[in-house]
Symmetry: C2
Subunit: 189 residues, 2 copies
Amino acid sequence: MKAEITTKINGVDTERLTDTISAVKASPELGRFSFQIANRWINGGENRSQVKLFRGQGEVFSHKTNFELLADEPDVLLGGDTGANPVEHLLHALASCVTTSMVYHAAARGIAIERVESSLEGNIDLQGFLGLDPTVRNGYQLIQLKLRVKGNVTDEQLQELSSLGPTFSPVFDSIRHGVPITVSAERLP
Amino acid sequence: MKAEITTKINGVDTERLTDTISAVKASPELGRFSFQIANRWINGGENRSQVKLFRGQGEVFSHKTNFELLADEPDVLLGGDTGANPVEHLLHALASCVTTSMVYHAAARGIAIERVESSLEGNIDLQGFLGLDPTVRNGYQLIQLKLRVKGNVTDEQLQELSSLGPTFSPVFDSIRHGVPITVSAERLP
Protein backbone atom coordinates (compact mmCIF):
# COMPACT_ATOMS: atom_id res chain seq x y z
CA MET A 1 0.00 0.00 0.00
CA LYS A 2 1.33 3.36 -1.05
CA ALA A 3 0.47 6.45 0.90
CA GLU A 4 -0.18 9.50 -1.24
CA ILE A 5 0.59 12.81 0.37
CA THR A 6 -0.31 15.96 -1.52
CA THR A 7 0.00 19.53 -0.40
CA LYS A 8 -2.82 21.56 -1.83
CA ILE A 9 -3.41 25.27 -1.51
CA ASN A 10 -6.57 26.65 -3.14
CA GLY A 11 -7.11 23.14 -4.53
CA VAL A 12 -3.83 23.36 -6.45
CA ASP A 13 -1.16 20.72 -5.82
CA THR A 14 1.74 23.04 -5.01
CA GLU A 15 4.33 20.25 -5.21
CA ARG A 16 3.33 19.47 -8.80
CA LEU A 17 3.17 23.21 -9.51
CA THR A 18 6.73 23.66 -8.24
CA ASP A 19 7.84 20.63 -10.27
CA THR A 20 6.20 22.07 -13.41
CA ILE A 21 7.89 25.44 -12.92
CA SER A 22 11.29 23.74 -12.41
CA ALA A 23 10.81 21.51 -15.45
CA VAL A 24 9.89 24.38 -17.79
CA LYS A 25 12.73 26.49 -16.34
CA ALA A 26 15.22 23.69 -17.13
CA SER A 27 13.71 22.80 -20.54
CA PRO A 28 11.80 25.81 -21.93
CA GLU A 29 10.40 23.71 -24.81
CA LEU A 30 8.21 21.92 -22.22
CA GLY A 31 6.23 25.15 -21.90
CA ARG A 32 4.98 24.99 -25.48
CA PHE A 33 1.30 24.05 -25.63
CA SER A 34 -1.27 24.19 -28.38
CA PHE A 35 -5.02 24.09 -27.86
CA GLN A 36 -7.62 23.26 -30.48
CA ILE A 37 -11.34 22.99 -31.11
CA ALA A 38 -13.56 21.94 -34.01
CA ASN A 39 -16.76 23.91 -34.62
CA ARG A 40 -19.83 22.94 -36.65
CA TRP A 41 -22.67 25.20 -37.72
CA ILE A 42 -26.17 23.90 -36.87
CA ASN A 43 -28.58 26.58 -38.13
CA GLY A 44 -28.98 30.36 -37.89
CA GLY A 45 -26.99 31.57 -34.89
CA GLU A 46 -26.53 28.07 -33.47
CA ASN A 47 -23.24 26.19 -33.63
CA ARG A 48 -21.21 23.78 -31.50
CA SER A 49 -17.55 23.20 -30.70
CA GLN A 50 -15.90 19.92 -29.79
CA VAL A 51 -12.95 19.99 -27.39
CA LYS A 52 -10.95 16.77 -27.20
CA LEU A 53 -7.19 16.99 -27.68
CA PHE A 54 -4.39 19.39 -26.91
CA ARG A 55 -0.64 19.25 -27.23
CA GLY A 56 2.06 20.10 -24.73
CA GLN A 57 5.49 18.99 -23.62
CA GLY A 58 5.90 17.21 -26.96
CA GLU A 59 2.88 14.98 -26.28
CA VAL A 60 -0.74 14.80 -27.40
CA PHE A 61 -3.15 14.84 -24.47
CA SER A 62 -6.82 13.89 -24.42
CA HIS A 63 -9.33 15.40 -22.03
CA LYS A 64 -10.90 12.84 -19.66
CA THR A 65 -14.19 13.40 -21.47
CA ASN A 66 -14.96 15.27 -24.67
CA PHE A 67 -16.55 18.65 -24.10
CA GLU A 68 -19.20 20.13 -26.36
CA LEU A 69 -19.61 23.90 -26.17
CA LEU A 70 -22.80 25.46 -27.53
CA ALA A 71 -23.41 28.92 -28.93
CA ASP A 72 -26.53 30.66 -30.15
CA GLU A 73 -27.98 34.17 -30.31
CA PRO A 74 -30.94 35.44 -28.28
CA ASP A 75 -34.23 36.18 -30.02
CA VAL A 76 -33.61 39.92 -30.33
CA LEU A 77 -30.44 39.03 -32.25
CA LEU A 78 -32.45 36.61 -34.44
CA GLY A 79 -31.29 33.34 -32.87
CA GLY A 80 -32.98 30.45 -31.05
CA ASP A 81 -31.42 31.34 -27.65
CA THR A 82 -30.29 27.76 -26.96
CA GLY A 83 -26.92 28.86 -25.56
CA ALA A 84 -24.81 31.84 -24.56
CA ASN A 85 -23.67 33.87 -27.53
CA PRO A 86 -20.07 34.24 -28.75
CA VAL A 87 -19.36 37.56 -27.03
CA GLU A 88 -20.71 36.14 -23.73
CA HIS A 89 -18.39 33.14 -24.18
CA LEU A 90 -15.53 35.60 -24.61
CA LEU A 91 -16.36 37.13 -21.20
CA HIS A 92 -16.47 33.61 -19.69
CA ALA A 93 -13.03 32.82 -21.15
CA LEU A 94 -11.70 36.04 -19.61
CA ALA A 95 -13.32 35.57 -16.18
CA SER A 96 -12.30 31.93 -15.87
CA CYS A 97 -8.69 32.62 -16.90
CA VAL A 98 -8.23 35.62 -14.60
CA THR A 99 -9.66 33.62 -11.68
CA THR A 100 -7.57 30.51 -12.36
CA SER A 101 -4.42 32.57 -12.87
CA MET A 102 -4.98 34.33 -9.55
CA VAL A 103 -5.73 31.10 -7.69
CA TYR A 104 -2.66 29.27 -9.09
CA HIS A 105 -0.25 32.16 -8.52
CA ALA A 106 -1.63 32.70 -5.01
CA ALA A 107 -1.05 28.98 -4.32
CA ALA A 108 2.55 29.31 -5.56
CA ARG A 109 3.01 32.17 -3.06
CA GLY A 110 1.38 30.18 -0.25
CA ILE A 111 -1.63 32.50 -0.02
CA ALA A 112 -4.90 30.69 0.76
CA ILE A 113 -8.03 32.15 -0.83
CA GLU A 114 -11.53 31.41 0.47
CA ARG A 115 -13.77 32.78 -2.27
CA VAL A 116 -13.48 34.51 -5.62
CA GLU A 117 -16.33 36.06 -7.58
CA SER A 118 -16.22 38.31 -10.59
CA SER A 119 -18.65 40.29 -12.71
CA LEU A 120 -17.81 41.25 -16.26
CA GLU A 121 -19.56 43.60 -18.60
CA GLY A 122 -18.62 44.56 -22.14
CA ASN A 123 -20.02 47.17 -24.51
CA ILE A 124 -20.60 46.61 -28.20
CA ASP A 125 -22.06 48.94 -30.80
CA LEU A 126 -23.84 46.87 -33.48
CA GLN A 127 -23.23 49.60 -36.05
CA GLY A 128 -19.83 47.92 -36.43
CA PHE A 129 -21.12 44.36 -36.94
CA LEU A 130 -23.86 45.60 -39.28
CA GLY A 131 -21.33 47.51 -41.37
CA LEU A 132 -23.22 50.79 -40.94
CA ASP A 133 -20.39 53.00 -39.72
CA PRO A 134 -16.75 52.30 -40.60
CA THR A 135 -15.56 54.42 -37.65
CA VAL A 136 -17.30 52.06 -35.17
CA ARG A 137 -15.35 48.91 -34.31
CA ASN A 138 -17.05 45.48 -34.52
CA GLY A 139 -15.70 44.20 -31.23
CA TYR A 140 -16.01 45.15 -27.58
CA GLN A 141 -15.26 48.80 -26.97
CA LEU A 142 -14.53 48.27 -23.29
CA ILE A 143 -14.67 45.36 -20.84
CA GLN A 144 -15.11 46.06 -17.12
CA LEU A 145 -13.99 43.33 -14.77
CA LYS A 146 -14.93 43.50 -11.09
CA LEU A 147 -13.21 41.04 -8.78
CA ARG A 148 -14.38 40.17 -5.27
CA VAL A 149 -12.08 38.12 -3.07
CA LYS A 150 -12.38 36.60 0.38
CA GLY A 151 -9.33 35.50 2.30
CA ASN A 152 -7.39 36.14 5.47
CA VAL A 153 -5.22 38.77 3.81
CA THR A 154 -4.22 42.37 4.44
CA ASP A 155 -5.47 45.17 2.18
CA GLU A 156 -2.02 45.23 0.60
CA GLN A 157 -2.17 41.48 -0.11
CA LEU A 158 -5.67 41.89 -1.53
CA GLN A 159 -4.33 44.41 -4.03
CA GLU A 160 -1.45 42.07 -4.88
CA LEU A 161 -3.84 39.14 -5.28
CA SER A 162 -6.16 41.02 -7.57
CA SER A 163 -3.27 41.98 -9.83
CA LEU A 164 -2.13 38.34 -10.27
CA GLY A 165 -4.88 37.43 -12.75
CA PRO A 166 -4.41 40.39 -15.09
CA THR A 167 -0.61 40.03 -14.80
CA PHE A 168 -0.40 36.34 -15.70
CA SER A 169 -3.65 35.30 -17.42
CA PRO A 170 -3.21 34.06 -21.02
CA VAL A 171 -6.76 35.13 -21.98
CA PHE A 172 -6.39 38.55 -20.36
CA ASP A 173 -3.20 39.14 -22.38
CA SER A 174 -4.79 37.77 -25.57
CA ILE A 175 -7.84 40.04 -25.33
CA ARG A 176 -6.01 43.06 -23.92
CA HIS A 177 -3.19 43.10 -26.46
CA GLY A 178 -4.57 41.16 -29.42
CA VAL A 179 -3.42 38.00 -31.18
CA PRO A 180 -2.40 37.47 -34.82
CA ILE A 181 -5.02 35.24 -36.52
CA THR A 182 -4.52 33.46 -39.83
CA VAL A 183 -7.64 32.48 -41.79
CA SER A 184 -7.82 29.93 -44.58
CA ALA A 185 -10.90 28.65 -46.36
CA GLU A 186 -11.69 25.63 -48.46
CA ARG A 187 -14.72 24.03 -50.00
CA LEU A 188 -16.44 21.14 -48.25
CA PRO A 189 -17.18 18.29 -50.66
CA MET B 1 -56.15 32.95 -36.88
CA LYS B 2 -53.08 34.82 -37.99
CA ALA B 3 -50.81 33.36 -40.64
CA GLU B 4 -47.12 33.89 -39.95
CA ILE B 5 -44.92 34.12 -42.99
CA THR B 6 -41.18 34.32 -42.48
CA THR B 7 -38.44 34.36 -45.06
CA LYS B 8 -35.44 32.53 -43.71
CA ILE B 9 -32.07 32.12 -45.35
CA ASN B 10 -29.50 30.05 -43.42
CA GLY B 11 -32.03 29.92 -40.58
CA VAL B 12 -31.92 33.71 -40.28
CA ASP B 13 -35.16 35.68 -40.64
CA THR B 14 -34.04 38.11 -43.33
CA GLU B 15 -37.07 40.35 -42.92
CA ARG B 16 -36.24 40.92 -39.25
CA LEU B 17 -32.57 41.33 -40.19
CA THR B 18 -33.46 44.05 -42.72
CA ASP B 19 -35.73 45.71 -40.14
CA THR B 20 -32.91 45.65 -37.56
CA ILE B 21 -30.44 47.19 -40.00
CA SER B 22 -32.95 49.94 -40.93
CA ALA B 23 -33.77 50.64 -37.29
CA VAL B 24 -30.11 50.99 -36.23
CA LYS B 25 -29.39 53.10 -39.33
CA ALA B 26 -32.22 55.47 -38.40
CA SER B 27 -31.44 55.50 -34.66
CA PRO B 28 -27.78 54.56 -34.08
CA GLU B 29 -28.30 54.39 -30.29
CA LEU B 30 -30.35 51.18 -30.89
CA GLY B 31 -27.07 49.48 -31.80
CA ARG B 32 -25.63 49.84 -28.31
CA PHE B 33 -25.57 46.52 -26.47
CA SER B 34 -23.85 45.37 -23.32
CA PHE B 35 -23.26 41.76 -22.35
CA GLN B 36 -22.46 40.48 -18.89
CA ILE B 37 -21.59 37.36 -16.91
CA ALA B 38 -20.98 36.51 -13.26
CA ASN B 39 -18.24 34.01 -12.43
CA ARG B 40 -17.69 32.05 -9.22
CA TRP B 41 -14.59 30.07 -8.26
CA ILE B 42 -15.26 26.46 -7.17
CA ASN B 43 -11.81 25.00 -6.39
CA GLY B 44 -8.38 24.76 -8.05
CA GLY B 45 -8.84 25.38 -11.77
CA GLU B 46 -12.62 24.97 -11.63
CA ASN B 47 -15.04 27.89 -11.87
CA ARG B 48 -18.44 28.66 -13.37
CA SER B 49 -20.10 31.59 -15.10
CA GLN B 50 -23.78 32.49 -15.06
CA VAL B 51 -25.26 34.13 -18.15
CA LYS B 52 -28.71 35.66 -17.66
CA LEU B 53 -29.22 39.28 -18.71
CA PHE B 54 -27.98 41.64 -21.37
CA ARG B 55 -28.88 45.15 -22.40
CA GLY B 56 -29.64 46.58 -25.81
CA GLN B 57 -31.83 49.14 -27.50
CA GLY B 58 -32.34 50.81 -24.12
CA GLU B 59 -33.90 47.65 -22.64
CA VAL B 60 -32.80 44.85 -20.33
CA PHE B 61 -33.26 41.43 -21.92
CA SER B 62 -33.27 38.05 -20.23
CA HIS B 63 -32.18 34.84 -21.95
CA LYS B 64 -34.98 32.27 -22.28
CA THR B 65 -33.06 30.08 -19.82
CA ASN B 66 -30.04 30.86 -17.67
CA PHE B 67 -26.83 29.40 -19.02
CA GLU B 68 -24.06 28.06 -16.81
CA LEU B 69 -20.63 27.85 -18.43
CA LEU B 70 -17.98 25.66 -16.80
CA ALA B 71 -14.22 25.90 -16.88
CA ASP B 72 -11.47 23.71 -15.49
CA GLU B 73 -7.91 22.71 -16.32
CA PRO B 74 -6.80 19.25 -17.48
CA ASP B 75 -4.75 17.06 -15.15
CA VAL B 76 -1.39 18.00 -16.72
CA LEU B 77 -2.25 21.62 -15.88
CA LEU B 78 -3.19 20.57 -12.32
CA GLY B 79 -6.97 20.74 -12.65
CA GLY B 80 -9.83 18.27 -12.33
CA ASP B 81 -10.62 18.27 -16.08
CA THR B 82 -14.37 18.78 -15.55
CA GLY B 83 -14.66 21.31 -18.39
CA ALA B 84 -12.83 22.97 -21.26
CA ASN B 85 -10.18 25.40 -20.06
CA PRO B 86 -10.24 29.19 -20.50
CA VAL B 87 -8.04 29.30 -23.61
CA GLU B 88 -10.19 26.61 -25.25
CA HIS B 89 -13.28 28.70 -24.43
CA LEU B 90 -11.57 31.63 -26.14
CA LEU B 91 -11.23 29.53 -29.33
CA HIS B 92 -14.93 28.56 -29.06
CA ALA B 93 -15.91 32.23 -28.75
CA LEU B 94 -13.88 33.00 -31.87
CA ALA B 95 -15.14 30.05 -33.94
CA SER B 96 -18.79 30.61 -33.02
CA CYS B 97 -18.64 34.34 -33.76
CA VAL B 98 -16.86 33.98 -37.11
CA THR B 99 -19.38 31.32 -38.17
CA THR B 100 -22.45 33.29 -37.04
CA SER B 101 -21.14 36.49 -38.63
CA MET B 102 -20.60 34.69 -41.94
CA VAL B 103 -24.02 33.01 -41.83
CA TYR B 104 -25.88 36.26 -41.01
CA HIS B 105 -24.06 38.39 -43.57
CA ALA B 106 -24.50 35.69 -46.22
CA ALA B 107 -28.25 35.68 -45.42
CA ALA B 108 -28.34 39.48 -45.83
CA ARG B 109 -26.77 39.01 -49.27
CA GLY B 110 -29.20 36.23 -50.18
CA ILE B 111 -26.48 33.56 -50.26
CA ALA B 112 -27.62 30.16 -48.96
CA ILE B 113 -25.01 28.10 -47.14
CA GLU B 114 -25.32 24.34 -46.64
CA ARG B 115 -22.58 23.57 -44.15
CA VAL B 116 -19.88 25.36 -42.20
CA GLU B 117 -17.12 23.73 -40.20
CA SER B 118 -14.02 25.24 -38.70
CA SER B 119 -10.91 24.07 -36.90
CA LEU B 120 -8.96 26.39 -34.67
CA GLU B 121 -5.57 25.96 -33.08
CA GLY B 122 -3.66 28.37 -30.89
CA ASN B 123 -0.10 28.29 -29.52
CA ILE B 124 0.85 29.28 -26.01
CA ASP B 125 4.23 29.22 -24.32
CA LEU B 126 3.73 28.61 -20.58
CA GLN B 127 6.98 30.43 -19.81
CA GLY B 128 4.79 33.53 -20.00
CA PHE B 129 2.08 32.36 -17.60
CA LEU B 130 4.67 30.94 -15.19
CA GLY B 131 6.56 34.25 -15.17
CA LEU B 132 9.81 32.57 -16.26
CA ASP B 133 10.70 34.76 -19.23
CA PRO B 134 9.52 38.38 -19.51
CA THR B 135 10.12 38.33 -23.28
CA VAL B 136 7.50 35.57 -23.72
CA ARG B 137 3.89 36.76 -23.80
CA ASN B 138 1.28 35.08 -21.57
CA GLY B 139 -1.39 34.83 -24.25
CA TYR B 140 -1.77 33.06 -27.55
CA GLN B 141 1.13 33.74 -29.89
CA LEU B 142 -0.85 32.79 -32.97
CA ILE B 143 -4.32 31.44 -33.73
CA GLN B 144 -4.92 29.51 -36.96
CA LEU B 145 -8.51 29.35 -38.16
CA LYS B 146 -9.43 26.94 -40.95
CA LEU B 147 -12.91 27.36 -42.44
CA ARG B 148 -14.68 24.77 -44.58
CA VAL B 149 -17.86 25.79 -46.35
CA LYS B 150 -20.41 23.94 -48.47
CA GLY B 151 -22.80 25.82 -50.71
CA ASN B 152 -23.81 26.26 -54.30
CA VAL B 153 -21.36 29.08 -54.84
CA THR B 154 -18.56 29.98 -57.25
CA ASP B 155 -14.93 30.00 -56.09
CA GLU B 156 -15.12 33.79 -56.04
CA GLN B 157 -18.22 33.71 -53.81
CA LEU B 158 -16.51 31.17 -51.55
CA GLN B 159 -13.65 33.60 -51.02
CA GLU B 160 -16.12 36.42 -50.36
CA LEU B 161 -18.08 34.23 -47.92
CA SER B 162 -15.01 33.22 -45.99
CA SER B 163 -14.00 36.86 -45.57
CA LEU B 164 -17.39 37.85 -44.06
CA GLY B 165 -16.67 36.33 -40.63
CA PRO B 166 -13.27 37.96 -40.11
CA THR B 167 -14.58 41.25 -41.57
CA PHE B 168 -17.65 41.58 -39.32
CA SER B 169 -17.21 39.29 -36.28
CA PRO B 170 -17.13 41.13 -32.92
CA VAL B 171 -15.00 38.41 -31.30
CA PHE B 172 -12.57 38.28 -34.23
CA ASP B 173 -12.06 42.05 -33.95
CA SER B 174 -11.78 41.87 -30.14
CA ILE B 175 -9.09 39.17 -30.20
CA ARG B 176 -7.30 40.43 -33.31
CA HIS B 177 -7.02 44.04 -32.25
CA GLY B 178 -7.38 43.92 -28.46
CA VAL B 179 -9.88 45.50 -26.07
CA PRO B 180 -9.28 47.92 -23.18
CA ILE B 181 -10.06 46.15 -19.89
CA THR B 182 -10.59 47.90 -16.56
CA VAL B 183 -10.06 45.84 -13.40
CA SER B 184 -11.30 46.70 -9.93
CA ALA B 185 -11.11 44.58 -6.79
CA GLU B 186 -12.90 44.57 -3.49
CA ARG B 187 -13.09 42.38 -0.43
CA LEU B 188 -15.94 39.90 -0.05
CA PRO B 189 -17.46 40.06 3.44
